[in-house]
Amino acid sequence: AKEVRSGNAKLAAICGYLAKPDLAHSKFAAWQTYSDANIVQDFEHVARRQIFRAYDVLMRHQRETSTEEAWNRASIELCKASRMHVRLYLVRTFLEKVATAADASLRSPLTDLTRLYAFDLITASQGEFLKGDFMSDSQADGIRDGIYRCLERLRPNAVSLVDSWDFDDAELHSVLGRRDGNVYPALLEWAQKSQLNKTEVLPTFEKYLGPMMKE
């Protein structure tokens, strides 16, 4: 932030967005046409704004107290800045990777997942995107609608998508998550292994419960 503000920032790829000019408004029109570039641009806008807000808060405190105490007083804003920086990276990497999927039958559900991921993040931190009218209420509503449409589109592929992670039952180690779905008989069989089932009557009965019921 300091280098960018002083005009001589030497930033590698990851932080290059800090030196870009601000955007007045999001270009979101509809969730179907909200492009990878527009999504990244909007996350860059919010991350940049939060980073410079944290910087200004830090500078203000530094004028009033020591550098270390100023850092402490700005640390919540600083953590928010770091989270936005990281989320921008996660969104950008996800979009870039999915764009390399050559097979259209893979790219379609994966694209739905990228949209669900990005829209869910935007909605979870909606205040940041609405600030300064960057996004309008109707744009925010459009993003939410996008979540519900992505859920609908992904529904038929839900099980196939989890199957794609190639978890063998031995690795998953879950009766509930068995590949064959025969959960209920397996739950009963699993329960038989409980140490308590080694005897029909536990010693606790003779020691405590039996005598109690005879009183």
């Binding site: 932030a1 932080c15 196939s160 989890v162 180690h173 879950s174 959960v183």
Partner: protein, 439 residues
């Protein structure tokens, strides 16, 4: 099960092609299948009964037995590919728990490789790789953690005997938490404040013998033991360690970057950031692990939601699969999306680490600060969101999510540890912020 079979027929893509895209190609998937087949063919790599039914002692015994059998068969995998084959091989055998050699491979050996001078490398590396000794990495203290500058353990150089005196001056200086420190390890890398000629030069790594190599009894001047049961990782003897003016030879200090000469003169490292490399690599492994655990939780919950029927949407039309409820989809599908996002980020960070390591050999360190800052932030955001996502998947399975049969408690306990080890999350975020403010 008819419901889950119906789901698989409804899919619009080839699951194997998607798996190849996720793991990086057909060859990777083929290797996973070969490793799985090998592990399934070896009874000594299996659990006699499900671990959740074992007592802690039985679990520790079972983990020690399996880790010896696992490392007896390392030739089955490309052991240099820990990020890929190593992690998969280990997770199939050791499950979601640590073991007596957890830190031996992930921290002890990499530190020897990265921080020793040539003479020390010859002395320790082959011994460690051949499992002639068991090592751990003791940095965290009872009263001090991520803030290394305030570690209290001291290493004071005595030029008369050319030895370092390692000491735990207070209770809060006790080393605490390192995996396998309590009962298994006979060596440790110990991070201590280096004093020579009356001057403190900050934290430095030392290799220290903890136990007699024959009897395995602690050396004189060393108090070591298990810190007790924990939320998870109960197959591991996370330990405590206190030194009572314990002497080690001068060559016990790892001296690739900084040195202490026989007369006690201190030689500072050329570039203090060189240690960042291993940290970035360990974090890329962590992020992949977190992504895998979140995906496992989503897999369990989505499959169960496909076979669990509950309630009617249309009266009289019969109970529906709970995956048809929009609220259930909204609980689970975003977690699956996150798992994909985190997995791709893990591969990306690993690839950037490889690029940086290659650049480092030509002295170019431009990308290093940005990747180091990013990896700190990723570790923090991913471990936190994975833990929340796993808990959401557990809750979405009703009462059965609370049973150990579901594996959710085990997955959560294993994964949420990542919010604190390898650096407390808020401290990690503030590290990123320091970099961002400068930028």
């Amino acid at each position: 099960n008819p419901d889950i079979t119906k789901e698989r027929h409804a899919g619009t893509f080839d699951v194997r092609k998607m798996a190849c895209f996720l793991y990086g190609g057909e060859d990777k998937l083929q290797r996973r299948a070969e490793i799985l087949e090998f592990v399934k063919s070896k009874p000594e790599l299996h659990d006699p009964i499900p671990v959740e039914f074992m007592t802690r002692e039985e679990r520790i015994d079972n983990a020690a037995r399996k880790i010896v059998a696992m490392t007896d068969n390392l030739e089955q995998i490309d052991a240099s590919d820990f990020f890929g084959e190593g992690m998969y091989y280990q997770s199939l055998i050791m499950g979601r728990d640590l073991h007596p050699l957890s830190l031996h491979f992930v921290m002890f050996i990499p530190t020897i490789q990265g921080q020793t001078d040539d003479e020390q490398l010859d002395e320790w590396l082959s011994l460690a790789i051949s499992r002639g000794i068991i090592g751990t990495y003791a940095q965290t203290e009872l009263g001090h953690g991520t803030n290394l500058k305030n570690l209290e353990t001291t290493a004071t150089y005595d030029p008369k005997t050319e030895e370092f005196i390692i000491n735990s001056p207070t209770i809060t200086s006790a080393k605490w938490w390192p995996g396998a420190l309590g009962k298994s390890s006979n060596y440790a890398i110990v991070v201590a404040q280096l004093y020579t000629k009356g001057v403190c030069h900050g934290p430095h790594p030392f290799i220290v013998q903890l136990r007699d190599l024959e009897t395995h009894k602690p050396m004189k001047g060393i108090r070591v033991g298990d810190i007790g049961p924990k939320f998870g990782f109960n197959s591991s003897d996370n330990g405590f360690l206190l030194f009572d003016n314990y002497r080690i030879p001068r060559q016990g200090m790892l001296m690739r970057y900084s040195k202490v000469e026989r007369d006690g003169t201190y030689i500072a490292p050329k570039h203090s950031k060189l240690g960042y490399g291993t940290m970035v690599f360990v974090r890329s492994i962590m992020i992949k692990d977190q992504a895998t655990q979140l995906a496992a939780a989503a897999c369990i919950a989505i499959r169960y939601s496909a076979i669990r029927r509950q309630g009617e949407i249309e009266q009289g039309a019969g109970e529906v699969q709970i995956l048809d409820y929009q609220t259930q989809q909204f609980r689970l599908m975003p977690q699956l999306a996150r798992a994909f996002a985190f997995m791709f980020a893990a591969y990306e960070i690993r690839d950037m680490y490889m690029k940086v390591t290659e650049q480092l050999t030509h002295g170019n360190v431009d990308l290093l600060p940005e990747i180091h800052a990013l990896s700190s932030g990723l570790k923090s955001v991913v471990s936190w969101e994975a833990a929340q996502g796993i808990e959401q998947c557990r809750l979405a399975c009703g009462g059965h999510g609370y049973s150990l049969a579901s594996a959710f408690p085990e997955i959560y306990a294993y994964s949420v540890g990542g919010c604190t080890y390898e650096g407390e999350n808020i401290v990690m975020l503030l590290q990123v912020a320091r970099f961002l403010m400068k930028a």
